[in-house]
Symmetry: D2
Subunit: 437 residues, 4 copies
């Protein structure tokens, strides 16, 4: 079978490169992946997948950090103008991007793969020497840029999808492919989990280009020590007043926010492990001589475990609440994203090693079992959900040398990795089908 | 009549000096004036006054800044040991010092004079050159010292009392003399007012030695612009924890108190007039490596008007409450004293000028109508109560050069002022009897 | 003479109204009054005045709160496009707006009048019912609006100028008219004073529409108790870092700015009089997960006297400097405006009263001698300079009912006041010529 | 040889118990161990050791957290009164306690053992059931109590010393015994190191009763992951002023200290490992109505590595310096103690295991190689110095069940451990002599 898989992916390779470039060219940031979702859906539907979209795969109440209605509308219209299937876009109206595709009509899938599809909010490099620019596929969408390789991740997913479709008869089980929106800001996984997208799933694998896998021909089979994180904005609304004439009539939002910022950073360290807190941005007040009546803090917490992050978040909320109370502010904490900590399972890592070793592209000395991720990726929401229902999961990293780091406007990866990575995971799907789930 | 008054006070002078020295020698701080009250009561009862003491003249619920039971007990025992009438001390048990004396059995008094009797908590100077020490009447009570002249104030009151007693038949009305405890810390007036001590009073005069009247032979007839003030302590109780091993388990009282201090000082200035806020003392925590679980702030607010002080106090309370909440503290604000702002009435000042001019001791070029007090004295509680029921009031200052300022451990005043000041105010009593109250 | 003056102004009235509307229509904010200055200059030159402009009347080093080069260039081009004399605009390039006009070639003027010409940065109301909109003279310049009546002030100045020109032969002295830029933000007076514009001036009068003179037909002849003020921005530059990965590598500008804000507001109250401090705006940081590496505070201090304001400013600078030091920030305090406190002279008020009573438009019961200004206007820089060289000065307010308050986007005044105000001050010029300066 | 050692220690056991009780009974806190040092010196001199004391073994400039002269004098007098050899006490005048003893006159020692001798500042339990109280050897020195077992540590050292003295001829090398003062507060090691006490030492072992070795019959052979720590006090001196009358004249130490406290706790977390910072105590100000003119912060930092602790300390110093500058304070940071992080060497642990297994008292299943210490002990200063010069070191823990934890006023250990622990380490000395150092 691995032979057969190898040949299929070899044939698909040029198409995959084309898919990746199209996705790169149509970079769309979180909750606006209208074009990308429609593009993927069209391919999967044609390949015979059972595709679900919209509210069926996203619990509206758990979507965080949503752009405003106007921005969502504009992005949908842009996608249509760029050729997206209008019927599909219609299903996503209001920011219901992403999709779930089942290989077979039934029975319920127990095996799933997850790929993210959103871009960064960043202006892509438009200088000679930046390959996507030189070769004409850099982002056409101002302020959106695939600088984290999700275009590659989604392409690997498409490669697996098309390979499995060709081999449908040989696949003993139903297989689910999840194309998640809004990974940046760790926002898209939770509403999918809450919509039941991984209910019943017992084996889950995700895959990401690069990160700590720096060599083309290399792989990291499992990542762990994901940091749990919470993203949130705090809004304070006070009372303005002429600062010279009636300072006593103001309720000062700026001082409330300053007090909150200082005291949030003074939350105690934790003996249980590493924690983080940052107020990354503060905007407060209007004019020089007006007591400030509004302030916003853009903030995040992190923790080596979900519990540590929760500790930080609860403390931060208390600080914000009472900083507001001290200055008689109306206040609101708006959750903008977040995810749990996470660990890959040794059993899945072992399975992946066997699958990887079947792919000649990968050199065994460049295949590592495990890396501490040290950052956040909301794949952990899927992993935790699967693990809580008794399943196993892993997050693997497909090696590629990088011209510039993730989130840098010159980011680019080696396209040679796409097809072999899809080959590796198609093999893994067949191996998972052999598990006693 | 002024001639007669002059002769009476001339005869009383040496006794008054003796009274003043005895009071000085038995200095007792606020709520412990057991000896002084008994001493005054004995004199007034013998002179035929109707004396009320204890709970009759003090509403227990409004006494602030009370020493603890042990200290009150010790002070009462000390007074008895120093010769105070045990029956009178019994009436004051638990810190019910001070008294009210009516010249006549009835009708209800409409005229009142107020004098304070407490000492400072200060160690008196025990060096040659300090007159009370040289002449053997410096304080026998360790840590208590009459460094604000309340011994003189009370003596003037006794002078007036004895003069009026001699002239009882000529006095057309009942006259009330109020000997107030605990003026230091502005604590004694409010419980007297709440006990009804000035109910029905339509004319009230208080008198204080020195302050802004720097010349013997001088007088200031009315003081105004008293600052309203509130004295309070804030206590925070958190949770201690080993700072190295389990920093996250502590609830940090020190940081709560630091946050409160900073934000209290950041309370906005007020367009309505001068305000003040001070955290004068902070004590927090225990050991170097223990998360602090207790903190105390010793604080006060002031305002040019009662409303301004209330503004400051309310803001301060809010800051304290939310600083506590931010750090999960149990907290308490304990009111330790306070009084209103106040103004002397022009009508009373005019009356006092006529009375002053009848006393040859005072030189007209040294008699001033009015001074801005600029500090706090809880005579304002009596003044405000009288003014609110349609009466008039003034607070006058009896001139004396000073060796050292008020509250200094070398404070001393010119005893020559005592009898003339009593003469002046006895004249004023007769003038008040002529008012249409 | 007052009869003659009355007739001249009566004749000028319709022209003055037209002038005012043109200025209103060409609203330009501080340092961009290219059109307005050229407009005024053209009129004055034609009337025979000796006009000085540019660096001759503005010390470049003392101009604060200057727009950037691009904005200055755009405003100059706009003025030319709107018909301003290009030769005059050339003299003002780089933000050297405003002018000084002498009635005679010599001798040096000892009498001066000062008018401000800049608009607010505000979008004018464009609704039916707003008279300037209804009558077609609302601001053509987006974001600039005469909402403080400086169009009226300048027009009064033009009225006086044209009247004096007609009466040149009768005027016994040289007279200086100062048209000051950038009064909003209190920026324009100081560089004019430093350029020597009031050197040798012994009598100075300024005039402002409305403010505390609420009635058409009314006047306030002298304003005092101007608040001294300093406007400044504080910039902090730190080091950014990934908040999750390397928090220790950041130098946090947001926390520096928060610490500065809190401690600036905690600067002690002053027993010498009212003070103010406000951080009216704070912007800090970039993204949620990046240690903030820049922050800006937009701030001001005020004081009842120049000394009180200096006290506040010095303390604020110290707080900013050390908040920066605490967080290893590069920092800068950029002065954006400022002026002294000020008082009108009784002698000048008396002179103005006589001049006002010669103008039938003003009703004596609506003419007041004095008002506490209670705000800031940098006319005080001129007044102080004149008073320091032994002269006298006053700032008077021309009464007008107002539809909406100063700085409101619906602000409008009664044009009927313009000619009588000019008449009043022309009379005052003749009276000043009689003074022994 | 191990047989011989066993018999010697068996014979010494009752004397060791007596030594331990005497030390317990004469508990002396850091830098006041006059009695204890003299007691140990007398024994060692009699046993033929070459004893050095005073400035020879302590660099005066590196002693931190020294009691004041009066306290040092009183402690020295007390020791003499309690029977200490006055000649020896004389050598320690001014707080030069502790000693170094060499087994032989020469050559220079390459092997050393270190024991600490100071007590806690704590009132010992005086209730029935507390064994030292019941048996009459609880602390005779008020406020000093051996609640950390240093009396036991020193006794083990004495046991080794007497055993080695008996076996002097068989010991192939010179051996150094270090009795260190002031381990509590981590103050005594550094001045010994700086005086050269471990210069040339290539093998060093320290030993402590209990801690994480909870079972009598157990041992932990090596401790690591000591936290580096710095102990320091910050003093602020400002200017006091009457808070009501002249608030502007004060320079507020309390607000400086509050600002420092908040910002010290806001020092960023470090990606390199665990850090700590605590302001454990703050005292500021005097009276309620006086601007505070002095403040003290009692503080410490910690770090998983010396570098991490240095990061915290440098940041803390910067915060303190600029909080002081912000409020015009004179300030001082007084280092009160500190030590590096530390690790035991595997080679020494292996050697110790062999030595331990020769002692029948210890049960092999209760002997552990390694524990993470997780706290601070300034034995690390000696260990680091030895390791830096190419030597090896370990810190071992002698097992004992505990009635109450370290630093608890009911602390007590099992005396049965003393002689076997000395036996174990005497064996280790012989093993170290075999090393190629």
């Amino acid at each position: 079978m691995s032979e057969k898989i190898h040949r299929i992916l070899e044939e698909l390779e040029s198409r995959l490169v084309e898919f990746g470039r199209k996705l790169h060219n149509h970079a769309e940031s979180g909750w606006t992946e209208f074009w990308a979702t429609a593009f993927i859906a069209d391919i999967l539907i044609e390949a015979g997948y059972h595709v679900k979209m919209g509210r069926e795969v996203l619990d509206a109440d758990f979507r965080m950090g949503l752009p405003d209605d106007e921005a969502l509308h504009a992005a949908a219209e842009r996608a249509i103008a760029q050729g997206a299937n209008p019927d599909l876009v219609e299903k996503m109206r209001g920011g219901f991007t992403g999709l779930v595709a089942d290989l077979k009509a039934g029975p319920a899938a127990r095996i799933a793969l997850r790929f993210d599809i959103d871009s960064n909010t960043l202006q892509e490099c438009e200088e000679v020497g930046h390959r996507p620019f030189d070769e004409g596929f850099s982002s056409r969408n101002n302020g959106s840029c695939h600088a984290c390789g999700h275009d590659g991740n989604a392409t690997i997913g498409l490669g697996i999808a098309l390979a499995l479709a060709q081999l449908r008869e040989s696949v003993s089980q139903n297989i689910r492919l999840i194309f998640q929106p809004a990974e940046e800001g760790v926002r898209g996984a939770l509403p999918m989990v809450r919509a039941g997208v991984v209910d019943g799933i017992k084996a889950l694998v995700g895959c990401h280009m690069g990160f700590k896998a720096f060599h083309t021909g290399g792989l990291i089979l499992g990542a762990g020590k994901f940091l749990a994180t919470s993203k949130f904005d705090a809004h304070f609304t006070g009372v303005s007043s002429h600062a010279g004439a009636y300072p006593e009539e103001g309720q000062n939002s700026l001082l409330a926010a300053a007090t909150a910022s200082l005291n949030m950073h003074a939350i105690p360290r934790h003996s249980g492990g590493a924690t983080r807190i940052t107020v990354g941005r503060m905007e407060a007040g209007e004019g020089r001589n007006i007591i400030p009546a509004q302030a916003t803090l853009v903030s995040e917490t992190r923790g080596e475990t979900t519990e540590l992050n929760d500790f930080m978040l609860e403390k931060a909320k208390k600080v914000i609440k009472h900083s507001a109370g001290m200055y008689d502010q109306a206040w609101q904490i708006k959750m903008m994203g977040g995810c749990k900590s996470g660990e890959s399972d040794a059993e899945m890592i072992a399975l992946l090693r066997q699958s990887a070793e079947k792919v000649s592209f990968f050199q065994s000395e460049l295949i590592e079992d495990y890396v501490e991720f040290g950052g956040s990726d909301d794949v952990t929401e899927f992993m935790a959900a699967v693990q809580e229902q008794g399943g196993i999961a892993s997050y693997c990293l497909a090696g590629t040398e990088l011209v510039a780091g993730h989130h840098n406007y010159r980011f680019d990866f080696n396209e040679a990795t796409l097809a072999p990575a899809a080959e590796f995971l198609t093999n893994a799907v067949f191996a998972m089908c052999e598990l006693d789930l």
